[in-house]
Symmetry: C2
Subunit: 199 residues, 2 copies
């Protein structure tokens, strides 16, 4: 569109690269930013830059942090006897939102995927085993995604962790709360029956 000034056209293009933001939404956001107060625009641009420069990985669990260790690893209230293994920092946040787990985490930053050239050395598995060898950890919960790569990674982890004398469990698979038995796919329903619990 020739009616956009070069600066606006560039902003629309950059915003359009964000996930779920098309050209129309990008234009609307750009016009909003143009009309917004200088304070807000400055703060928005700064916070975008800051998230990239200030965010680090926790040297213990490889979750997101500012500084050497994340808020969870620094928290003495969180049990050091249990570690929940997740694929990505976003998964850690999802588990936290459930308010069910009070232990610590370990973020793999990926899953095993031989076709993509991702083996155990490309994931944060060696530092995980170092943590387990220290002897404080009694239980490991594997919360990788329930797909081919996530399951393969869980099996691999169980195999290398069990010899260290640590209890290994996998999060349950089954029908999601609020779901319908009728519309649940066969694989999930099979897992739900296999994983049935006495009442």
């Amino acid at each position: 569109m020739t009616t956009l000034t070069p600066a606006l056209a560039r902003l629309v293009q950059e915003l359009g690269r964000l996930p779920g933001i098309g050209e129309k939404t990008a234009t609307r956001l750009a016009m909003f930013i143009l009309g917004a107060g200088r304070d807000y625009v400055e703060s928005l641009a700064e916070s975008i830059w800051a998230v990239k420069t200030e965010t680090t990985l926790c040297q213990e669990c490889f979750g997101l942090a500012e500084g050497e260790r994340c808020a969870i690893c620094r928290d003495p209230q969180r049990s050091a006897e249990s570690i929940c293994i997740v694929e990505e920092p976003a998964d850690l946040m999802a588990v936290e939102r459930a308010h069910e787990y009070t232990g610590r985490y370990h973020v793999l930053h990926g899953v095993l995927s031989p076709l993509d050239g991702i083996g155990p050395d490309e994931l944060k598995i060696a530092p995980l085993l170092d943590r387990l060898r220290s002897g404080t950890v009694k239980e490991v919960i594997i919360a990788t995604n329930p797909n081919v790569e996530g399951e393969a990674t869980a099996l691999y982890l169980a195999k290398v962790i069990k010899p260290l004398g640590v209890q290994v469990s996998r999060i349950a698979h089954g029908i999601p709360m609020g779901g319908d038995v009728e519309y649940t796919d066969a694989v999930t329903l099979g897992r739900a029956i296999e994983g049935r619990r006495e009442m």
Copy 2:
């Protein structure tokens, strides 16, 4: 959420102030920005800032510009004999997208709204009359929105422009293309009949 680092929490908050972006979308965008390349993040932050600092108003039509005059007012191919009056720069862009109009524009930056204390002096009406008094303009098309304020503004403009000997017209109101006669509201249908054209 305690799992967000302070920098991430701040970015989520700032993104959440954009129109149509809730906390969930803001978190998704923030995580994308965190994982995106440094080049992109730098470019995004810069373009947000640039749109605010580099965008000016055209001194002739008060549309968006970079510098003194906008691309349309600088274009010798655009007829200087016709001026289309719109409320906001976004309206100008919408008219441009129709590829129907080859004249120039005048952006009022608002509409008459006595209850909000917005009279003719708060809009860019005086500079519009100056442009019309120069004598080159033969026709004015009023494209304010078809609501109470937009209609009132159009009537006011027609009253002050006609004495200058300039032809004044209003964009047509009627059934939008692809619309249904059955589901068109009574006011629009009334206008469509009133504004019927011989075939």
